[in-house]
């Protein structure tokens, strides 16, 4: 499900089945050296999030990405999202990111860290096959967390 009016109606009706929130985390970097890399990583993360949504459409809600700058307090971000999404009774929250820093913050936070692949120079077909490959590796991760 996407975060839009039509899908959220389905969500409200099928809450027992749709129990997972997916939030892409996107780093914004304004510095000369990091600008291009951050943009490319954002492109990758968002594309991957869409592929994940397509695969698990009936069990997840893909939220709009959360963009942050380096200096923001990451722990606080977790807390806020958690509190808000608990109101909507999500059982699982997954964060998808290619920013390494999140992955060092503890397993229990459900971070899915995937190193970014530069998709810029690829044509559509190549992009799709790269993303499909990544998705194949993610399916067991989701399945495992859901099984617990």
């Amino acid at each position: 499900m996407h975060w839009n009016g039509k899908d959220s109606t389905v969500y409200q009706a099928q809450k027992e089945f749709i129990d997972t929130a997916v939030i892409p985390l996107i780093q914004i970097d304004g510095s000369d050296e990091g600008f291009q890399f951050a943009a490319s990583a954002a492109d990758f993360t968002l594309s991957l999030a869409n592929v994940i949504e397509n695969q698990f459409k009936g069990r997840i809600v893909l939220f709009p990405s959360f963009s942050y700058t380096k200096s923001q307090d990451k722990q606080l971000v977790f807390k806020d999202w958690q509190e808000e999404l608990n109101k909507a009774s999500f059982k699982h929250i997954f964060y998808v990111t290619s920013d390494r820093e999140w992955s060092t913050m503890g397993e229990e936070q459900n971070i899915i860290w995937i190193p970014s692949v530069p998709l810029d120079s690829m044509d559509q077909k190549m992009r799709n096959s790269v993303l499909e490959d990544q998705l194949r590796q993610l399916i067991p991760i989701f399945a495992k967390k859901w099984a617990n």
Binding site: F17, Q55, F56, K57, G58, R59, Q124, N128, F142, A143
Partner: protein, 167 residues
């Protein structure tokens, strides 16, 4: 010689017929065009999409085939890639939609080691038999949709989704 001369009366009647004919045609033409317009309408997309899959390569094991078509959303055009599970049943080619009938996840062939020879939906463990029939006591309530298929020069073409005809 004299019988070739055009009289004033003849001249006037020819000219009036000619001009009148043009005027009548000017009125009738648009009417006729409006009347036959539905027949001349060109069919909008929706037809078959050529894939890169050779007919000869299709086996009895369902295999994923991607196909891309252009979708026009108001003024915004985008390429949409869909996929189908394609296999051969005797001489017939079957293409099933991978969209789970429960809540729209993507199903995969033999994705669950415990249930060989079935499609499996990882979201809520929905299962389908090879012909798309949903396995009772799993969440899906109907069989997988089917795609229309045809051959074009040795390659597979996939058309629009239709309700499953195999179950």
């Amino acid at each position: 010689m004299s019988n070739n001369k055009v009289s004033r009366r003849q001249f006037l009647s020819y000219t009036l017929t000619g001009v009148g004919g043009f005027m009548a045609a000017g009125m009738l033409m648009p009417m006729v065009r409006f009347a036959v317009d539905p027949v001349l309408q060109k069919k909008e997309g929706g037809d078959f999409v050529l894939t890169e899959k050779k007919i000869a390569d299709i086996t009895e094991v369902p295999e994923r085939v991607d196909f891309t078509f252009e979708q026009v959303d108001a003024w915004y055009k985008s390429d949409i890639t869909n996929s189908a599970w394609v296999y051969k049943e005797g001489d017939e080619i079957i293409a099933l939609s991978p969209v789970c009938k429960h809540l729209g996840c993507t199903v995969n062939w033999e994705a669950d080691p415990a249930h060989k020879n079935q499609f499996f939906c990882p979201c809520h463990a929905g299962r389908y038999e090879k012909n798309g029939k949903n396995v009772p006591k799993t969440p899906p309530l109907g069989p997988l949709d089917q795609y229309e298929v045809r051959e074009n020069d040795g390659f597979l073409e996939i058309g629009k989704a239709i309700p499953n005809t195999l179950v």
